[in-house]
Subunit: 302 residues, 2 copies
Amino acid sequence: MSSTEDLDYPQILFQYNNGFLVSKIMFTACELGVFDLLLKSEGSLSSDAIAERLGTSISGMERLLDACVGLKLLEVEMKSEGAFYRNTELSNLYLTKSSPKSQYHNLMYYSKTVYLCWHYLTDAVRDGKNQYERAFGVSSKDLFGALYRSEEEMIQFMYGLNAIWSICGRDVIAAFDLSPFTVIYDLGGCAGGLAQECISLYPKSTVTIYDLPKVVQVAKERFVPPEERQITFHEGKLGLFCVCSYAKKTVLNGPCFMITECNENSHHPFLFTSLHVRSFPSLRRNCEALKCFQRIMCLLDV
Amino acid sequence: MSSTEDLDYPQILFQYNNGFLVSKIMFTACELGVFDLLLKSEGSLSSDAIAERLGTSISGMERLLDACVGLKLLEVEMKSEGAFYRNTELSNLYLTKSSPKSQYHNLMYYSKTVYLCWHYLTDAVRDGKNQYERAFGVSSKDLFGALYRSEEEMIQFMYGLNAIWSICGRDVIAAFDLSPFTVIYDLGGCAGGLAQECISLYPKSTVTIYDLPKVVQVAKERFVPPEERQITFHEGKLGLFCVCSYAKKTVLNGPCFMITECNENSHHPFLFTSLHVRSFPSLRRNCEALKCFQRIMCLLDV
């Protein structure tokens, strides 16, 4: 039941209405390198100095910075010469490119790809299918063909996924005691962020990443060093059907363990991932919504 | 200073990252008529029934409804036959088309126009100008030419603005005692939502809406009934310069009163309006950000 005050002035509605403005302010400050510059300069800078160094308009940068202060992504100090801006701890840790926990690639993926897909959410609900065709002019029948429509796009996605695992991968892996399982298959393991967390927490385990050939190739070249002998790869087709067939044949005959996280439609533009659920406690409590969040990871003790 | 927990698991960052998903869920449920159907049906409906009545896919609708439940825009009841959905009080009041406080037009304007403009926020900050050209292929030099690029777009904007005033217009008008002023000019008064609030609170006042000829024409035809003799119109050019010239000549010689709310750049895609400020208390406290929010309303006692 809403209070009269909530009904007279519906804060929650304004918050939802403005949600995309807030997202884009953070994405843009990140993309323009505001947080990187402020980290490097090791002190506070004026709006004019930031605009000059990043090659932007003065008025636009000033307003962007002030919006970031309002969102607590920057701090401001008023001096006699004017306003001076510096990073918050959170921005240093997550919004700079060089931080081990950097979310830069994830945010850029959201800003450039997901944001535009979601512009067509109404069509997605009407049609019951993803909107890569409307958003990017690529066929949406082959989900991974659309998702990995260019090498650049695929690499951005892989970096983005690893960025998310750098925050919550340890929690996912530690949610159950997996120490009895020494041979682990990560189906759709992509750039190996979760595999890395796994061998770090369970040093006796080896993880085989099952993914598309072109994903495996880039993962080997860019993400998993060859000297990392606890992580190996298996090339194959993706899609839940293929993964299930593979799991049934290869895994399910032995003792195994599965973690569900996102289903075959997880890249539909209208689905939340497990991470989104986590950040919305109210959604998490809604069991129906949780149907959407399944990702299969099979763990086999041999 | 952030707590260790906030730094380990940055909720605020996920909230900002996902802000646009939340916006689009609300916009889409509104656009598809979910709230209108549930108001009309005077009870709860199953996901399948809603999908059928609104002509959408079953799977897409089910997920949309569950997301709305998570966001507290709908309530769900689990029966033996499955899940049944109904509106919250807030949704009945603000998200249905027929409610006097309906935000439908405002939300649609945000969803279709503002959302796409903000996709180009990085360019807007770089260039220091609005992005109507990139977003809609119309020249951005003439702001109102871009804003009112079609009659449909202009009418949507006018309905949207009136919707906002239906929530906070009374607060704006009541912020100062305007009872000594009996002749009031609302410069850029558009569809007259604020003028209506004004004559309602100050029955002795008359309000002249100053706006572009085509706006005045639609305002007369659709928004302000001819028998409303306390509201009159004055056609002219818009833009802060023109408004100021007009104000200087016509208004400033007499005793006058001005309320600032948004400046000549207020339709730049990277600016918040006063309404946005209001829903972000942290932004409101940031005086620098408030520089952006000026709209001139001149009130003249004659």
